[in-house]
Homo-oligomer: 190 residues x 2
C-alpha cells in the first residue's frame, strides 16, 4: 500500500516540490479503493463525494441520452483524474456515470479535503491549478476538433495521441467517444 | 485608470482575500490595453504573450478551417478571461484567432507574471485554480452538449444561460459557435 501512496507523491512531484512534513499532511486525505470491471464510481442522481486519481485500470465517464445511447466524456487510465466535476464542485447529485472498463484501483479525494490541502499547502494549490489548466486546454482542443474535424479525422488524431488507449478500449466505446455509430467507425482506416 | 484596477481587484476578491501589500505586488503585472472593433488580440502563427481579462467590450476566439469558415471557441465579455491557452501555456505560435466584436478594454497578463504571482501569493494560486476548475467544468458541459444535444437544443440552452450575449452577438457568429449554418439558425424559434 505504501508503494501506491508513493506513486501519488511522485505524481504531485512531477509538477511541484513537497517536503516530507507537507506530504504527511496530504497523504491521509486520500482514500485507497478498488473496483471490478463494470462497477460504478459515480451514478446519476447520487452524491458525488470524491474526485479520483487512477493508480491502475481504465475508467470512463459518460452521459446517457433519452434513447439510452452512451456519450463518452472521458477515458481515464493510470495517472488520470476523473469525476463528475460539475456535480462534485457544486455538491449536487451526479449528472453523468463513471464506471470501470477494467478492474481499477484509485485514490479518492473529497472536495473538503482538496480545499483543505490547497489552503494549507501552497504547492498543492499550484499543483491543482496547473493540472486544471492542462485539463482546460485539452478540453478546448477537443471542442475545436468537434467543431472543425470530421469523425475520421478525430479518430486519426486519437490514434496518434493515445494509441495504447485505442487498443485497450472496445471499439463501440471509441465510437461513443467520437460521436459516431459503431458501423461508421468500422469504415475508418486508422 | 485606478478604477479599472479596482475592478480587477474586486474580481479576485470575489474568490480570495488579498491584503493591500499583496495587491500592490500583483497590480503592476497587469498591463491595460484597448482595441477597436475588428482588431486582433491574437493571430495564428504569432506569439501569444498574454492572457486577457476583459474590462468591457466583447471578444471572440475562433479557428478558421480550410474552407475559410469560422468556428467559435469562446465569446468573452466583461469579467471573462480569454487567450489561445494551448499556445500561451506551451509558448508556441497561436493556433487560433482572438479579435474584438465590439471596442474592448482589457488587462494583459504574461505567463511569466502569472507564474510569479501564483508562486509568491498563495491566494492567487487558489484564485487561478478555482477559476480554471470552473472553466474546465464549463467546457465539459459544452462537450456533453455537442455530443448529446441537437443544435436547436444548444441554442435554447445558450439563450437561457446567456440571453444578453445572444442579443449582443450577430446571428452569424452565434451559428459559428453552435456549429450550424446561418440558415439553419434562422429556423430555430428561440
Amino acid at each position: 500500500m505504501q508503494d501506491k501512496y508513493q506513486l501519488l507523491r511522485q505524481h504531485f512531484e512531477e509538477i511541484v516540490t513537497l517536503t516530507d512534513e507537507e506530504w504527511n499532511f496530504i497523504a491521509p486525505h486520500f482514500e485507497h479503493k478498488k473496483l471490478k470491471k463494470h462497477q460504478f464510481l459515480i451514478q446519476t442522481g447520487q452524491p458525488v463525494d470524491c474526485e479520483f486519481w487512477i493508480i491502475n485500470g481504465l475508467i470512463k465517464s459518460y452521459a446517457v441520452d433519452e434513447k439510452g445511447s452512451e456519450h463518452i466524456l472521458q477515458f481515464a487510465m493510470e495517472d488520470y483524474w476523473v469525476s463528475d466535476y460539475y456535480a462534485f464542485q457544486h455538491q449536487i447529485p451526479a449528472t453523468i456515470f463513471v464506471d470501470c472498463i477494467e478492474d481499477s484501483e484509485f485514490f479518492c479525494l473529497s472536495l473538503e479535503s482538496r480545499e483543505t490541502i490547497c489552503q494549507k499547502i501552497p504547492a498543492m494549490a499550484n499543483f491543482f491549478r496547473i493540472k486544471s489548466n492542462y485539463g482546460f486546454i485539452g478540453l478546448q482542443q477537443r471542442i475545436l476538433s468537434l467543431l472543425t474535424q470530421t469523425a475520421e479525422e478525430r479518430y486519426d488524431a486519437l490514434l496518434f495521441k493515445l494509441p495504447k488507449l485505442v487498443q485497450r478500449v472496445p471499439k463501440k466505446l471509441i465510437a461513443a467517444y467520437l460521436g459516431v455509430s459503431r458501423e461508421t467507425l468500422s469504415r475508418f482506416k486508422g
